[in-house]
Amino acid sequence: MLFSVVSVVVLLFSALLALIFNRSALKTSAVGASGAVIASLTGLIPVVKTLIVPARETLSLPCSLPVGSFSFVLDPLAAFFLVPVFILTAAAALYGVDYLKQFDGKKPLGLAWAMFNVLSASMVVVILSADAVPFLIGWEAMAAASFALVIFEHEKSQVRKAGIIYLVAGGAGALFLLAMFALFGIGSDSLAFSSFTRPAGGLASVAFLCAIMGFGLKAGFVPLHIWLPEAHPAAPSHVSAVMSGVMIKMGIYGLMRALHFLTPWQPWWGWLLITIGVVSGLLGVIFALAQHDLKRLLAYSSIENIGIITLGLGIGVLGVVKAIYPLAALGFAGALLHVVNHALFKGLLFMGAGAVLHAAGTAELEALGGLSKKMPRTAVYFLVGAAAIAGLPPLNGFVSEFFICFGAFTALRAPIQTATGAVLTIAVMAAIGTLASACFAKAFGAVFLGKSRSLKCAAVHEAGPWMGFAMGVLAAACVFIGFASPLLVAPLSAAIACGFGPRLGLEFSAAAGIPLLYISAGALTLAAVLALITVFRKFLLRGRKPAAGPTWDCGYAAPSARMQYGASSFVQPLTDFFQPMLRTQRHYSGLKGFFPAGADFHTEANSVFYNHLYAPAANLIKRLAFRYSWLQHGRLQLYILYIVVALIALLVCKL
């Protein structure tokens, strides 16, 4: 616990130093990044210890608060979420050293570093809190710091719009959390987690719905996700990596903790979570397929992965309620491991996208192509991330998706209701997996393969050394988890036991232990087979020099880069199929007259929910609110009167 405190202090102190050294880009980057790296390495010590030897450390700061206390606890569940936070903080900070150089002299880098470190510190505080007050303080600090980072390039109008949407979403989420904690604390004079009275019956369900809304807004459940595809692409890439990789997982963490205070669970909670998972997972990946911008595509894919995590959580809850424990254990395990896995590969992919954006000046898929020749290292790392996020063996994404799918298979013999949930899970996981692999074949292919589609790719250069190192670390972690999955059984089982009861921890070790050994063996076999084939091919080609020629294009020998298939064409059969959900808008100015001049065609996959749900709702609220605008007249003395009246009314009610 001491080291955890040290790491938060180092983060905050280096944030302060970064602000002080704002004048010099070199100094502020050095201070900010080294602070983040040192803090992460320090913070990982107690975390790893807790995961290896499950323990529960508490800490209470001696300072009093009106309804709470600064009490913190480090248990295996918290430790499990802290691992990706620290890893990604360190990697993103190193990446940021190179990435932020392009803004040198144009932007206050000190502020960017300070906010980055505050963001990391606030996530650590959120995870460690054992009291609603520090939890909410951390939560709001997280929202504020990330808001400041999202509007880093505030001279762009799109970024400002993203910032406002993000701010509103964050505020709304916090309101629901206040309501939820108030319900937890009914009849108790403290908001410490240990003194929560468990609300029962209808109140429990209300508290659960508040948790879904409040934490779902942060996690990006469909249809609460609309801030996500706006805010994540707007932020600098290393911040996008942290936001998409770990910050949205704070919503999942909060939900898991909230479920802890809400026993006994209702069956419909499980069904609600499954529904959210299915809808978010499928719509997330379908929207991702239709995007033209690499960072927006990655943001939508985060929604998909949050869907997978929630699906795991949902079958977990259903399994517990229906007393089908292997289903529950594997569902929770899948959700937990996917949190870590998604942090690793989404962080990696956002960093890859940032390297492309940095090098080519655009992340527009239709303008890129052929970058693997100029950025070979970035291409390899991005490929690892793409294969991992598509859930392909032998990488880490496969292991967590395996847990969820396998969990569903174990429940097939269950009574019909639960079995239906299991069948739904299997079908949806299969669909999401193939759609994700189509989506990332498109993303990787459009950016790195073929020929460059525009001149922008001509001057492209490889990512800087720190950027490369950060991506390399994350890619190595993806590969490591894929091959060494049996090592995960103990920490996962500890985290499950801590979050959902010791019985499920044991159940998980029993259900997953042997399959993971086989999966690891399968991964090693695959690696060995690939090596053998490669050697065989080398042997066959010894002493011969392959000839080079043009690509076969039906006998046409001068194909140009513009004749390539575009990224949108590649997914057109699928986007066309899902058009009712996507509502892609097509803009076409056709050829007219005998001597047609220019023609133009472009499509926009706008946010369906924003256009068809939120915009009408906001208009309605605005219209209603205007009727009462006479209340808001700008006279300060009357505002003070309002406050006094409200206070008196509250006091009278209390009496």
């Binding site: 079995a419 069948v423 193939t434 759609l435 084939i533 392959p546």
Partner: protein, 302 residues
């Protein structure tokens, strides 16, 4: 020992399946047809050729066939042989098998995209599209089998399939087999989804992705395709051969015979029906999906 023998038999016999299909088609077309063992000769010849690479390709283009073949080889280690256990049989192995085939597909698609040719990109685009519809059908068909037999590994599932199970749940097993057959045709790019004999780049799927590959790379692709045909066909053969005898030789012989009957059936099918339009292929795959769902419903109602 027997497991190794089974695996080696699969490795040697797979290319013969394509020979059988071609001979049956030639018979229906009134031709003499290419020799049964032609694919072996092709593979041997290709392995000794020097490849030609397009200037727009990178290492990924060369890695594609290697990963494609390696992944299918590993998937084959999971596939049961005549209802007997395979190398890698464990609870949940079917998920690994399907995802390994997914890895092979991903590698093939990326290698195709690396050439920068519109034709290859078209094929890749179709390949990923059809996979989206085929894979849920495949998974649910296996889920119906898992619910029916109570087993979670492919080997155990098919070993648990006895004539008694067929008698009591014939409708379920028939639907599962039908769904598996459609997925088998689609995943192996056979008529009515794709025509391996077509010679127009615009209308091909699997063949067009391999247009630029040559030499050993092409040999790996052709051999991988033959192995994949065996991998998915074996599930169908196991499903329709529920009777197991005590003798490994009898079982194996019967199973291999069944594989060639299946190949002949594919040949007959390809001779009597035409390929579907691309826009209609998803409907065929939905049919497979519906069969799987129906099988699950029948199984649940039993």
């Amino acid at each position: 020992m027997k497991v190794v023998a089974q695996y080696l038999m699969v490795l040697t016999l797979s290319p013969l399946l394509l020979g059988v299909i071609n001979r049956v088609k030639a018979f229906f077309g009134g031709r003499k047809g290419i020799p049964l063992f032609q694919l072996y000769r092709d593979l041997f010849k290709l392995l000794h050729k020097t490849p030609v690479y397009s200037r727009s390709t990178t290492w990924l283009f060369r890695a594609g066939p290697i990963v494609g073949l390696g992944a299918v080889l590993c998937a084959l280690a999971i596939v049961p042989f005549s209802g007997r256990h395979s190398f890698l049989a464990f609870d949940g192995d079917l998920i690994l098998m399907v995802y390994l085939l997914g890895l092979a597909r991903f590698a093939t698609v990326l290698a195709a995209l690396d050439t920068g040719s519109s034709f290859e990109d078209m094929g890749a685009s179709r390949e990923v599209q059809f996979a989206v519809f085929a894979e849920p059908a495949f998974f649910l068909a296996l889920a119906a089998l898992a619910r029916g037999t109570g087993q979670l590994s492919l080997s155990a599932m098919f070993a648990g399939l006895t004539p008694a199970v067929w008698q009591s749940a014939a409708s379920v097993l028939a639907l599962v087999t039908a769904a598996l057959f459609i997925v088998f045709l689609a995943e192996n790019s056979r008529v009515p989804v794709d025509d391996p004999n077509t010679h127009l780049e615009l209308t091909m799927i699997h063949e067009v992705m391999a247009l630029d590959h040559s030499g050993p790379d092409l040999a790996f692709i052709l051999y991988g395709a033959a192995l994949k045909l065996w991998a998915l066909g074996a599930l169908i053969s196991c499903a329709v051969l529920p009777r197991h005898s005590a003798s490994w030789f009898v079982d194996s012989g019967r199973f291999i015979l069944m594989m060639f009957v299946l190949a002949a059936a594919v040949g007959v099918l390809e001779s009597i029906i035409a390929r579907l339009r691309f826009l209609k292929v998803p409907y065929l795959l939905f049919t497979a999906f519906s069969f799987s769902v129906l099988a699950l419903m029948f199984q649940a109602a039993r």
